[in-house]
């Protein structure tokens, strides 16, 4: 306990911890999740025209919308994709245009030759400029030729709007061909297996809106929905910032290692105290901010039975595993190399994970997501349906954290015995 307190004091009285707390506050405040007073969840009233929209996998809606979109992209040879969450504009090369034409031709009644005539290929038409309204400007040997769009196009009756999928194509087959299209585009397009549902946008009716509300009321008991949204943002910050506390506390030992190495404390005891101290130091401000955020809505639901422990449950169940893994990465790599290389590792992991998660920002989970996303107040059904995935995900990260912790103990203990001194030659030298 004394050792734990020593390590704990070392962490919380450090400059790193001060910056950590300030950053956490600034980031949460900038995302407006520290005060939810203007976000009351009201019971839906019947007779309204708009209760929002949702996405459903209805083939009769998805298939015509998706093929229209693909045809539109094909004709202008410009496709927007988000491979790791970032915008990417794809312009296909000639052979890939042909491959795409094969796909569209198979799914519709339009022949490949006909399709290829309609595509604007900037790779082969360097001297042709197409404007959005259908007008084109072409450079010829004697000057420029301005071509007006066909009359029906000018009137807005674009042919692409009448394009339809052949009747004998099943949804499964359609999905298979959309996958091929996505593969040609390098992934991350609207035609990928996970994104195809974005074409299935349907309005929510009153009964469904009421059902969503009742789920928030009975399952989340209101406060749970707010704690989840808070955790969505907090987890992003914690997944990155925790690594600094692990690094900082380890680097502090650097100049007094000779003294520590000769002390009569087991490596396991010392590292366990240190790891627990770091996690405790991270979780205290997280829990405090989580309650500050949640208390802001307690007054709004006085007539209901609310869950006062939701902020604590979400902090421990949702955020803590990310804190554990991030700080474990910091401790392990700093002990191993004596350098803050863990920053690069964690930043890279965090960055890729965050951007890959953008496609499922409203609540979509995978077993290996570092920062779980649920950027929505409510969406309780999605949360409930994926609960087992969320639990699996968090347990995986706890397990990896513990493995990293054990590896840290081993490295530390070998270093005490003088058996390893990794990257000694890479250390900075004063010249």
């Amino acid at each position: 306990m004394t050792l734990f307190l020593k390590e704990f004091k070392k962490v919380i009285f450090s400059f790193t911890f001060l910056i950590f707390v300030i950053t956490l506050f600034v980031m949460l405040n900038s995302q407006e999740v520290l005060n939810f007073t203007d976000q009351k969840i009201d019971i839906p009233q019947p007779g309204k025209t708009d209760y929002g929209t949702k996405y459903e996998e209805i083939p009769d809606i998805i298939m015509p919308e998706a093929i229209k979109s693909l045809y539109r992209d094909f004709t202008v040879n410009s496709y927007i994709t988000y491979p790791i969450g970032f915008y990417k504009n794809i312009i296909l090369s000639k052979d890939k245009i042909e491959q795409m034409a094969d796909i569209i031709s198979y799914l519709t009644d339009i022949s490949k030759e006909d399709l290829l005539k309609r595509v604007y290929d900037e790779n082969t038409s360097d001297e042709l400029i197409n404007f959005e309204n259908g007008t084109s400007l072409e450079k010829t040997g004697t000057g420029y030729v301005l071509t007006a769009p066909p009359a029906e196009r000018q009137a807005g009756k674009e042919e692409e709007l009448t394009i339809s999928v052949k009747k004998d194509i099943t949804y499964e087959e359609f999905k298979k061909y959309m996958q091929k299209a996505d593969k040609i585009l390098g992934g991350g397009s609207d035609y990928s297996d996970s994104n195809l549902i974005s074409f299935g946008k349907v309005p929510i009716n009153y009964e469904e809106a009421l059902k969503n509300y009742n789920l928030i009321k009975t399952e989340d008991r209101f406060t749970g929905a707010y704690a989840r949204l808070f955790s969505d943002y907090a987890c992003i910050v914690i997944s990155l910032m925790s690594v600094f506390l692990g690094i900082s506390v380890s680097l502090k030992d650097k100049n007094i290692k000779e003294i520590i190495f000769t002390k009569n404390i087991s490596s396991f005891q010392l590292m366990l105290s240190r790891y627990l101290a770091v996690i405790t130091a991270i979780m205290i401000p997280v829990i405090i901010f989580s309650y500050i955020s949640n208390i802001s809505v307690w007054g709004m639901y006085k007539e209901f039975k609310i869950d006062y422990l939701a902020p604590l449950a979400y902090s421990i169940g949702w955020i803590m595993p990310s804190a554990m893994i991030s700080s474990a990465v910091g401790l392990f790599f700093t002990e191993l190399t004596g350098t803050p290389i863990a920053i690069v590792i964690q930043v890279f992991w965090w960055f890729v994970d965050l951007n890959m998660g953008l496609s499922v920002i409203k609540g979509g989970y995978s077993p290996f997501t570092l920062s779980l996303r649920h950027n929505s107040l409510g969406n309780t059904e999605i949360f409930n349906n994926n609960f087992s995935v969320i639990v699996t995900n968090r347990l995986i990260f706890v397990e990896i954290s513990l493995i990293l912790f054990i590896m840290t103990v081993l490295v530390y203990s070998y270093k005490r015995k003088g058996k390893i001194n990794v990257f000694k030659k890479f250390r900075n030298k004063q010249i």
């Binding site: 995302q31 970032f86 504009n89 312009i91 090369s93 920053i343 010249i431």
Partner: protein, 215 residues
């Protein structure tokens, strides 16, 4: 003879100083930056990109090399722990810092230039502004780390500040106005001068702080 012997001697020592600093204190950061550059095409699309899309790998990833190359320039003094040694050296410490800054900034510029050229080869729409804009963002991030390093003798905190700033920009940083580092990715191809000038001002301030704090 245009130069006196003492000047030749000083020049030789400067070259030796630069070589040793690059070898012992800079090479690892250069390799790390090179790895960042090499893995960028794996994470981001780098073919047939329009002007805005070309800016995304540059501003969101390549600019991070600014933190890697510039932030640790004062670390050798932090690591050594013995400030007494500094005063006994042939060169003034601020001169050593200037040398390090010159090669780090030059390397940063060349790496960005190399990557923009790579984008060009891959049929992406890039121009001089992509080089200038990325360099400005990268330099500003690096300078935030360097000035923190001048103020705090710690090898983790100096990385924290630019990364927090990067994160702030990520989460709706357009509120940061002239100091928004992802301008080109949002389609804004102007205003990077503020980042560039601020970056150089912060670097000069960092050297001055370091110089006077050591006296």
């Amino acid at each position: 003879m245009f130069l006196k012997n003492s000047e030749i001697n000083r020049f030789k020592k400067t070259l030796l100083l630069t070589e040793k600093n690059i070898k012992y204190n800079f090479l690892k950061y250069f390799i790390l930056s090179l790895i960042i550059i090499l893995i960028t095409p794996v994470i981001f699309g780098t073919q047939n990109l329009d002007s805005r899309a070309s800016a995304i790998p540059l501003e969101f990833f390549i600019a991070l090399t600014g933190i890697i190359l510039i932030t640790p320039l004062f670390f050798p003094e932090n690591d050594a722990g013995t400030d007494e040694l500094i005063t006994s050296k042939y060169f003034e410490n601020s001169f050593v810092y200037t040398i390090r800054i010159i090669y780090a900034v030059l390397t940063l510029f060349l790496l960005i230039l190399f990557f923009v050229f790579y984008l060009k080869l891959n049929n992406c729409t890039v121009n001089f502004y992509h080089i200038y804009g990325t360099f400005s963002s990268a330099l500003f991030l690096g300078s935030l780390g360097l000035i923190t390093s001048a103020l705090i003798k710690n090898n983790a905190v100096p990385y924290m500040i630019p990364l927090i700033y990067f994160m702030l920009n990520f989460s709706g940083g357009s509120k940061l106005g002239k100091f928004y580092i992802f301008g080109m990715s949002s389609g804004i191809f102007e205003g990077k001068i503020f980042l560039l000038v601020s970056g150089f001002v912060l670097i000069i301030s960092a050297v001055l702080i370091k110089k006077y704090s050591e006296k």
